[in-house]
Symmetry: C2
Amino acid sequence: MRLLANNQQINNLSSEKIALSNSLGRITSENLIAKENSPIFPTASLDGYAIRFIDQKLNILNIFINDNPAGNQTRQVLPESFAIKTFTGSIMPIGSDTLIPIENVTVIDGKLKIDKQVSIGNGVRPIGELYKNGDVIIKKGTKISFTEIGVFASLNISFPKVTQKPRVAIFSTGSEILDLGEERETFSQIRSSNNHALEALIRESGAEPIQYGIIADEVDKLKIAINETINSGADFIVSTGGVSVGDYDLIAETLQKLNFETIFHGVKIKPGQHILVAKRNNQIFIALPGFALSAIITAIIYILPLIRNKLGLNFEPKIIQAILREKYYKKSRGKTEFTPCNLIFNGGKIELDFNGKRVGTSALLTNMLDSPHLLFSSENDGDREKNELMHIYILD
Amino acid sequence: MRLLANNQQINNLSSEKIALSNSLGRITSENLIAKENSPIFPTASLDGYAIRFIDQKLNILNIFINDNPAGNQTRQVLPESFAIKTFTGSIMPIGSDTLIPIENVTVIDGKLKIDKQVSIGNGVRPIGELYKNGDVIIKKGTKISFTEIGVFASLNISFPKVTQKPRVAIFSTGSEILDLGEERETFSQIRSSNNHALEALIRESGAEPIQYGIIADEVDKLKIAINETINSGADFIVSTGGVSVGDYDLIAETLQKLNFETIFHGVKIKPGQHILVAKRNNQIFIALPGFALSAIITAIIYILPLIRNKLGLNFEPKIIQAILREKYYKKSRGKTEFTPCNLIFNGGKIELDFNGKRVGTSALLTNMLDSPHLLFSSENDGDREKNELMHIYILD
C-alpha cells in the first residue's frame, strides 16, 4: 500500500478569513499568538474581601467604603488594615494580595471579623495564568471546535484565518446505475450510492465536494464529463466504477486520451485492488472501484490523506492497536486487507470484534454502518487468533 | 452528580424530512426497513463467464452469442454447455450458478477453454446478500454519516426522516463583559467567550443555538432578556454567570420573579458547583457558572444529555476506563471532579496524562483545547497513583 499524499508534491492551499460562527470544523492556517497576558492584572476568582495577607493576623479589619465590583473603571488602592469587598472577575485592588472568601468572614458593627484564615494568594488569579504575552495559544493546523471558538472570542477575533477547503469533483460511472430520484425502467438497474456516500465523506473530512452525478460508461461521454471536472478547477477528481479488467471499464482509456499521466493502476489491497490514480498539471484523478464498500474504503485510505495534506493537517493514517475478541480469518493472502470492525473499550483495554458485520463481497456497504473502523492486515499476514493484537485504522 | 435528563420528563421532538445532501449529522427518527432483497437477483461480482457449475467438467464450453453487460434489459437463459460473457454488476443468466473469472479462461477458435476451475457460486452475489426484505437496515436514533447517506441513496430515499433539532437559547451575563467586536472602554472589561463556545458546543451536538449575546447584571434587564428567550420557544435556555453567592449574582432572583421552579441550585462538582436548574412549563433553564472552564464542563455534563434525550439518542454519559500515566492530585475532596486530560492509545491499552494542561482556576478554558476528554473522580475518591485505572467521560 502506498500513501499517495507521501509521494505527491501537494501544495497547501492559501488561507481565507471566515466569520467565527461559521468556522466550526475549519482548520486554522496560522498560529494564534497572545498579544497580552491573561489576566492582565491579578483578578478575583471568587466573591470575598481583598486584603493584605499580613493583615490577617489583626483578625478585625476595617471595611473600605467602596465595593470593588467586576467591571469597575478604576483600580482602587487598599489602605493598610483595610479590606475591600471584591467580586468574582474584579481586578484586585493595588496593595492587596489575597482574597478572603465571603464564607470565611462576619461583618460586625461595620468591621470585618476573620473567622477562618487563608493562605497567601488565595482566590487570586495571577497575571498570565491563562496565557502570557507571546504564548502560542492555538497552533496552526488545529481543527476548530467549541473550545477554539471560545478562545477566539475571548481574544476578540471575529474572523479567524483558516485554510481554504480543497475542492473535490465526484462522479460515478456505469450504464446500469440510476441516480437518486430517477425512475427505474428495468429490473437490472441499481441505485448509485457511491457518489452520495463520497460527497458526504468528503464534506465530513473538511473539503468541498462538487457533485457531477452519474456518467454513462462510454468514452465520448466520459471525455466530456472529465473535461468538465477539469475545468471546475477541482484539486482532486474522484470517480467510481470503470477501472477493472472488463471490456466496459473505460476510465483508463479516457484518461489516456485526455493526457493524464498514470501514477499507479492497481494495488495489492482488498477491497479496492483496481484503484487507478493519474495526474495532469496540478490535478489528481483518483478512479475508485465501483463496489460500494471498495469505493468507500479506498476513499478513506487514499483520498482523506490527500485532503488532510491540502488542509495542512497531519495526514499520516491514524492507526491504533486493539485486541481480537474472536478469530480473524484473512480472506486474501498476499494483499493488505481492510475489514470493518467494532472497537470496544473494556477496562483500560481496547478490543475489537465483528459483531453484526456480514462476510461477503465488496458490495456490503452496510458493514460500514455505525462504526467505521478498519482492521488492517498486512500483505504477509494470515489468520489471527483471539487475544492477538491487531492494527486498526481509525477515522477522526 | 445528578443526570438531569434522567430526572426530567423530556418529550421527544417530532420529526421532519430533510434533503439527503443536508442530512449529514442529523438523527434518524424511524427505522429504515428494506422493502426488497438486495440484490434482487443473483448478481456477478466480477468480470467473467456465467456457467453452470457442473459444465466445468466439460473443460471446453460454447460461448453464447450475446454478452451480458451490467444494466441489460432482459435476463438471458443459459443453454447447457454454454457460457455467457458477464460483467461486474450484471444479473446472472437464468440457469447459471457460477461465474468463472476472465483470468481463468482462454478463448480458442470461438470456444471457451477453462484453465482453472472454481467452486460453485464463485463470483456470484446471492439474493439478499446486502439485506433481505424486512431487514432493519438503519436503526431509529442513528447519526447520519457518510455510510448512512450511501445506504439511503441506494434505496432511493431523497428525503430521510430525521428528528427536529432541539432549540437552545444562550446568553451570558455580567456588566464587566464585552461581546465579540465591541470596543474595550476600560482596562477591567473582559471578553465573553462563554456564549460563543456554548453556541459552538450546542451546534456540534446537533441542536440549534439561538444566540442572545451579553445581558447586563441587572434584574430588570435580565427579566426582559429571559422573557425574550422564553418567547423564542426554545426547549432549553442557557445562561452563564450570575449564579454564585455574591451580591451581583442575580439569575436566581430573576427566575423566581418569572415564576420558574428551581430544580436544583448547587451541586457537589468541581468545576461548576454553582449551577442552577429551573423549569417553567416545558422549558428548562440551565444557569451555568461564569468561569469559562466551569461553563463548558457543566454544559457538557448537563446540557448535552438533555439535547441527546430530545434527539432520541442514548443520553447516558459515555464513560470509559484508562490507565494513569502520572499521579493524579485531587483538588477538592468531597466533590465530583472533572479534569481535562489527554487519552493515549498504546498497544491495545488506553492511557491518560495531563501533558500541556495547566493547574489553576476554573478560568482555564485553554485546558479544553485539543482533546476534550474529562477525567472523572467521584466525591469520595482522593489522589490516585500512576498505573491506576480511572474513569474518563468522553465526548462523541
